[in-house]
Amino acid sequence: MVRIFGPLVGLFFAAALLWSFGVGAVQLIREPEPSTAVKDFHLPPKEVKFTFDGPFGTFDKPQLQRGFQVYKEVCSNCHSLKQIAFRNLADLGYNDAEVKAIAKQWGTKAKTFDPKTGDAGERDNTPADHIPAVYYAGTGNPPDLSLITKARHEGPAYVYSLLTGYTTQPAALLKKYPDSATPDGLYYNPYFANLNIAMPAPLTTDGQVTYTDGTKSTVGQMAKDVAAFLTWTAEPKMEKRKQTGWAVLGFLLAATALAYLAKRNIWSDMH
């Protein structure tokens, strides 16, 4: 039975597949898949080096603080960062008093609700609060940035490239794809998936943010710093993960070497 029905089923599926293949191939020859503006003009992220690259990489705390400052002064107008509580900022090297002050002075206040009167109100943030949600009335939906560097391929380089990648739409693109002109209210950016992003270039001029540690705040520097900061928000346990990893690998290497010797010893009379 199996030896009769088996081959029949096999031939049936193979025939159906070759039929699909034939139909698809004919279609492809009749009307080849059209090229698109995205296929021709989308760019992979730029090459950027970060201190946290590689198995030994660590965060550069002054850089994270600068990146946080960029987030606070620029991005936080539109983007929330809901996975991060103010207390987490201690990881960047701020002391308790500084964390308290950052929370207290944060522009968007924490919401309160009085169950006796039903009144909604506001209060200052405390270190235990998460960074409050922001609401954005403009075009498009600014995503929460907490995990953005893990939610995109080559995230840190992507964020850097996106922020430094705004240009005018190339003439060659408009010539080849006249229908693909950037619509009103959107901005051309070859690093963005569909080339036209609703976010206006957030970092436009050198010195837009005044760094307190003396680093020159060029657009490239600010973009790199905020990309580093957003890598920390996505993976705050990265340093501990790598440190633990080396200890685990060291232990396993020793244990495996011993296991190998034990195995050789036990099998020595058997070959």
């Binding site: 096999g10 031939l11 193979a14 698809g24 034990a262 195995k263």
Partner: protein, 422 residues
């Protein structure tokens, strides 16, 4: 199972004698994985993967049970509860990365284990039942992994669940009601998430049960071996302990080194970035792809693009995808060659290597966007896949002339066997 020369369990300590009378658990262990279980002396490292698969299951249960203590199966908070595990739970990041990469490791190990079975025809008599239970375990693993991937409730979780449960709607007449019944709604939602969590917790224990049957069935004929010939005499075997406990220990070390490299240094390399975006029913991802271990089957599903003999393409795809695994159940009866090991089957061996290549190509296509060129490649590769199992294997086993087999396992290891000339 026991060969006549299997060592019997002899407790010496009075406590062990007492225990042996009341509950002979040590006797059981001795016979199952101890000195009382004779195993062919010539097993190569491909025979390590069964124990490694068992280890992976233990690893998944251990990390999974602790994750479940902190996870919240509610579509409103599931995504954030996973981030809570990553950020606020002590060692939570390690548990979660360990569990996610553990699933991948489990599939790597089981794929090697299965392809070991293909090459050495481990499915042949008298080991058919071991094989049938193995394929059952694989199906259960796929269901478990699929439902586990839904739990973090990211974009790929949601859309993956939608696509896969959508497959049921291809079944004529009952399809749509069936899909709604499975999901508890029209699309994946809180009801679906809750039942997936419940089943994802349950199924590994079902798998554990089937593994017990798998190993029970294994112990009746005993392990096969790279020559594929039967054990004849005591010199063909060694006791499982200490010989294979030592070899498995070393294998486990190597496995753990690779596994740890992933968990600690590239924990997201095998995942999809979109699953770090919370599920959003209003926004479809550009490419919906499952986890890598489903790619070959996903490629087969998508390869059917034209209706065939009035059967809708979608239904054909679903039938083929399930048949791609179900056909393994019939291997013991499709491959009729009396020789087991691929080492002595020149023609079979060539087709085996083509199959390996074919499945890799299918995997590559399944992970690529559904563009025409990849679809065309996967159509050819899928056709070969079915032809291999259902047509080529039966034909090859009837026309092939196998190479001469060694006299015994002992001879294959030592070059000579006194029993051969006696």
């Amino acid at each position: 199972m026991s060969f006549p020369w299997a060592k019997h369990y002899k407790p010496s300590h009075p406590l062990m004698v007492w225990l042996d009378e009341k509950l002979p658990l040590p006797r059981f262990v001795h016979g199952a994985i101890g000195g009382g279980y004779p195993v062919p002396r010539n097993l190569n490292y491909f025979w390590n993967f069964g124990v490694l698969a068992g280890f992976c299951l233990v690893l998944q249960i251990a990390t999974g049970v602790i994750l479940a203590m902190h996870y919240a199966a509610n579509s409103g908070v599931a995504f954030d509860s996973v981030e809570h595990i990553m950020r606020d739970v002590n060692w939570g990041w390690m548990l979660r990365y360990g569990h996610a990469n553990g699933a991948s490791a489990f599939f790597v190990v089981v794929y090697i284990h299965i392809f070991r079975g293909f090459f050495y025809s481990s499915y042949k008599a008298p080991r058919e039942m071991i094989w049938l239970l193995g394929v059952t375990i694989f199906l259960l693993m796929m269901a478990t992994a699929f439902m586990g991937y839904v739990l973090p409730w990211g974009q790929m979780s949601f859309w993956g669940a939608k696509v896969i449960t959508g497959l049921f709607s291809a079944i004529p007449i009952v399809g749509e009601p069936l899909q709604q019944w499975l999901l508890g709604g029209f699309a994946p939602d809180n009801a679906a998430l809750n039942r997936f969590f419940s089943l994802h917790f349950l199924l590994p224990f079902v798998i554990a049960g089937v593994i017990i049957l798998h190993i029970w069935a294994l112990h009746i004929p005993g392990s096969s071996n790279p020559t594929g010939i039967d054990v004849k005499q005591e010199s063909d075997t060694v006791p499982f302990h200490p010989y294979y406990t030592a070899k498995d220990g070393f294998g486990l070390g190597v496995f753990l080194l690779i596994y740890a490299a992933f968990v600690f240094f590239m924990p997201n390399a095998l995942g999809h970035p979109d699953n770090y975006i919370a599920a959003n029913p209003m926004s479809t991802p550009a490419h919906i792809v499952p986890e890598w271990y489903f790619w070959p089957f996903y490629a087969i599903l998508r390869a059917f693009t034209a209706d065939f003999l009035f059967i809708p393409a979608k239904l054909m795809g679903v039938l083929a995808m399930f048949s791609a695994i179900l056909c393994w159940f019939f291997l013991p009866w499709l491959d009729t060659s009396p020789v087991r090991s691929g080492h002595y089957r020149p023609l079979f061996r060539k087709f085996f290597y083509i199959l390996v290549l074919d499945v890799l190509v299918l995997g590559f296509c399944g992970g690529s966007p559904a563009e025409t060129k990849y679809v065309l490649i996967s159509q050819i590769a899928s056709a070969y896949y079915f032809l291999h199992f259902l047509v080529i294997l039966p034909v090859v086993s009837s026309i092939e002339k196998p190479e001469p087999l060694p006299f015994s396992i002992t001879e294959s290891v030592l070059g000579t066997d006194a029993a051969a000339t006696a």
